[in-house]
Assembly symmetry: C2
Homo-oligomer: 222 residues x 2
């Protein structure tokens, strides 16, 4: 069998020596260009121009490879500058994280089951906890509120996937049209409005504002 010609994914650093770093880099490119199914040990080794087993010298197995790819991808997340009120800071933080996840949908999906615990990931937590402290929350409630923002950002990026937004809207609309209107009056009436909420920056921003409103209401009642 002739060796597979390296594709675009590997070309950026095709001649560098092998290292965990480079494996993670090319793995990330493969993930983003061709999806999670393409990111196999065998395929990645081909892409790097080495034998499959060579990877095991740098990476502990498939699970460890995925961790390395995630850490590598997360390192590129840029923290926005801290300015404005606590509310403006949290909003900007959430939007920044959401933007990068929308741009890297496969990474967001991979992130689902494996928490990122690199120092870099905690820069977002640090910034968020500081803003929530400024707002007046004690440590326990600031942690709860931060987790709410985290779940909202990652949940939106995962469930409202931009990549298949059109398909999702079409399927949803068709399913609503098939419902017996007598049993589903409110859903049937909202056949235009419900599919519209399945993705998009506007839907993300709406929920974020409601959460932040909720935080303010909570502070006011103390």
């Amino acid at each position: 069998m002739p060796p597979r010609r390296p594709t675009a994914a590997a070309s950026t650093a095709a001649r560098s020596p092998l290292s965990r770093e480079r494996i993670a880099q090319v793995g990330l490119e493969l993930l983003e260009h061709e999806g999670l199914e393409a990111l196999s040990m065998r395929r990645l080794a081909d892409e790097l121009g080495v034998g499959t087993m060579t990877l095991y010298g740098y990476v502990d197995g498939k699970e460890d490879l995925l961790d390395a790819v995630i850490d590598h991808g997360a390192a590129e997340f840029g923290l926005p500058p801290a300015r404005g009120s606590w509310r403006e800071q949290l909003s900007e933080l959430a939007h920044a994280l959401h933007r990068v996840l929308v741009a890297r949908p496969h990474l967001a999906r991979l992130r689902l089951t494996r928490p990122i615990v690199t120092p870099g990931a905690f820069r977002f937590t640090e910034r968020g906890m500081q803003a929530l402290g400024e707002a007046g929350f004690d440590r326990a409630e600031a942690a709860q509120a931060f987790r709410c923002l985290f779940v909202w950002v990652f949940g939106s990026a995962s469930f409202n996937a931009e990549t298949r937004a059109e398909d999702a809207r079409r399927e949803s609309r068709a399913a609503i049209a098939r419902l017996p209107p007598g049993e589903y009056p409110a859903v049937t009436a909202a056949i235009d409005e419900l599919p519209a909420t399945l993705s998009g920056e506007e839907q993300f921003a709406y929920g974020l504002e409601r959460l932040l409103d909720g935080f303010e209401a909570r502070l006011a009642e103390r």
Copy 2:
């Protein structure tokens, strides 16, 4: 090769004739008992005591099998009785859905990439849209608000997985302990509080209340 003895997953209906229904049923049991990796065409066929290719007479392939399993699982979701204020109704609806997802973590994970569009799934939407209409939202905003609840419920069930809560807490705590305290003062100070928010009914309820507070604030400003 001797035929694999059917395990507990298939025993409930081991002698029924083959049907899409029964394939979905045994597939669901396999999924919940042994996880997503165990739910393969070959393994499921073994479990049912038939040849692998036999499944293709009832199911269009792996993707269609997963859809069938999800629909089968979703059909069991019980809608709570509608009573109380719009806020109480939405709260009860969200809690009911969250409870069933927490009890079926693998189903929740599968649900991530494939929307459920069966009539049964829309019973929750119908109930939610009615409550939000009562509250005073127009159709467009009711749809947005409902989607917020949906993402919150599924996001919590996916990211705050109860099944590996202890591991997640331990890993998170260890990672925080490794951070340079000077650079991460707010995170380091919350080394007890942050891991505590990684799962649990209380964290789910906290965010739900903040969202509902946010809906009320939004209605008040109109």
